[in-house]
Amino acid sequence: MYARTFGSATLGVDGMIITVEVDSANGMPAFDIVGLPSTAVRESKERVRTAIKNSGLRMRSEKITINLAPANVKKESAGLDLPIAIGLLASQGRLRASICEDFLFVAELSLEGNLRPVPGVLPIAITAREEGFKKIIVANENINEALLVEGLEVYSPKTLMELVDFLDGEIEMKTAKPQPIYEPEGFVELVDDFADVQGQFMAKRALEIAAAGGHNVLMVGVPGSGKTMLAKRMSSILPEMTREEALEVTKIYSITGKLSGTGLVTKRPFQNPNHDSSTAAIIGGGTNPTPGQVTLAHNGVLFLDELPEFKKATLEALREPLEERQITISRVNGTITFPSSMILICAMNPCPCGWSGDDDHSCRCTPLEIKKYMRRLSGPLLDRIDIQIRVPRVKYDDLSSRRKNEPSSVIRERVSAARKIQTKRLEKYHLFCNAQMTHSLIQNLCTLEPAAEKLLKNVFETKKLSARSYDRIIKVSRTIADLNNGAEKITAKHIAEAIKLRSDFEVDA
């Protein structure tokens, strides 16, 4: 007999509904899965068969053929165990086939017959709702994720047997409730706060501006000056994520299996890959493309410490995600686009030994060494970094002072206010922060006061700036003006600060 159930797999960051067709007929006993199953799916036949047996259900040994449609996409999910098991029971007359078609089944099976969680439940649930499913069956650990999607009835039986009884109508089952998230007792979460950073006022100001306008930052400083400490606190001053943004981040975490029973991710991501990471780990890749660090940092911060130590190819590959705010990965198996809208924060030493430009230490590097070191950073990459500053060594007085610093929450309020002004201005162009403005938008939206114009002209001519630097200075000064209660026109003061942030450290490429 023939039966049909619905399961799902993931493709990129989206869910995909898979129709599982099961036919069980007389003939030589066999168990075939067709329709481009991956190894995990192919192995599911052993799990399904054993789970059915150990649940106390009988499965006749017949010629069983399972087809996964659409047949042209490689199925990458162990979550197909459950729809295959239910389809099998329906095809052998143990379950009413018509009832089984109302549900979307998303779970792996243990040999014992228990339901196990799978990655990617959130995007699958979103797709399910879009395709008109009303009821979804998931494992206990996936409840919180599935419940993020409104308008779906979520059921979570513990075992296959419980599910069979429910589908038979023998037992009632309530829709699942959000699961409490257990945290170890006495666990105090350490929150990185800007109040911890002594001194470094300019760097703090620069990061505030970067957060407000979505600008990328390069910090150049001697070892131990606090670059890493500053960068780690960046996500604490970014405005709270909107529900939309939080869902996007949760989707990515869901696909990569980084959610463990938790629901919505509300903290902005902070990714800090080691400089030895491969290009595929940073950008995303693999035979079946998986998201890389740029995608995991979506709507958050990507921090590259020791920037020149990264492989050149890796750094160059960052250009696309920085420009397009998404990354397209092409492999033989298909082309997949992942979102990657993040703020890039980079840190580096001014030279190989680290002390060039410091007042109290002498640099041991030859000019050639420094030149070689700097040459690892290409012009096009540096070009995408609006703010480039020096982070000097902290003075003893600053370090030992008991002065209360401004906490992150206060800075965040200012940042959020500035973001609101930008959103209002840029909404009709589908942009959300100043860093995304193009040259023509800058011409239209940024008006300079005459004094500001004059100052910029002066600097432009004396410093022999490029057209690119010109745009960048105006973009950053626009953000500064937004932070300054949303001043309509950019004043000379704003321009002056932007110039300082732009050229505090000139990379001699």
Binding site: N26, G27, M28, P29, A30, F31, D32, I33, R42, R60, S61, E62
Partner: protein, 123 residues
């Protein structure tokens, strides 16, 4: 008692065992050019192909372990030829193994493994 005697004894006792359990014996020692099926039995609409393995000790492994993949393929080949007979075209079928443990020329224990193997998916 030599090995072929042991095999004969095993097959006879397996047949007796199946009859006692209510199976109908269709044929014994069904032979094609390259393979043989020890017993073909029938229960309701199901045709059962039985391979009998007798052992007097397990120094060289359990009886069922002697039904290797190669042997399974041969049995499956023979079974598909048997099933071409129109009388059995609509039947379900099953591959069983019956293990016979011998002790001093007597049958000590019979173990019946239903659904011992099935057709493997290519690739």
């Amino acid at each position: 008692m030599n090995n072929s005697d042991k095999g004969k004894l095993g097959e006879d006792s397996a047949t007796k065992y199946l009859v006692e359990k209510g199976y109908e014996i269709v044929t014994r020692n069904f032979r094609i050019r390259s393979a043989e099926i020890d017993i073909i039995a029938r229960s309701g609409d199901t045709i059962i192909f039985v391979e009998v393995k007798a052992r007097s000790n397990i120094r060289h492994g359990l009886p069922i372990e002697a039904v290797t993949l190669r042997k399974q393929k041969k049995i499956i080949e023979a079974a598909s030829i048997f099933l071409q007979d129109d009388n059995y075209a609509d039947c379900a079928c099953r591959f069983d193994v019956i293990e016979i443990y011998l002790e001093g020329g007597r049958v000590e224990e019979i173990r019946h493994i239903e659904n011992a193997f099935e057709i493997l998916q290519e690739g």
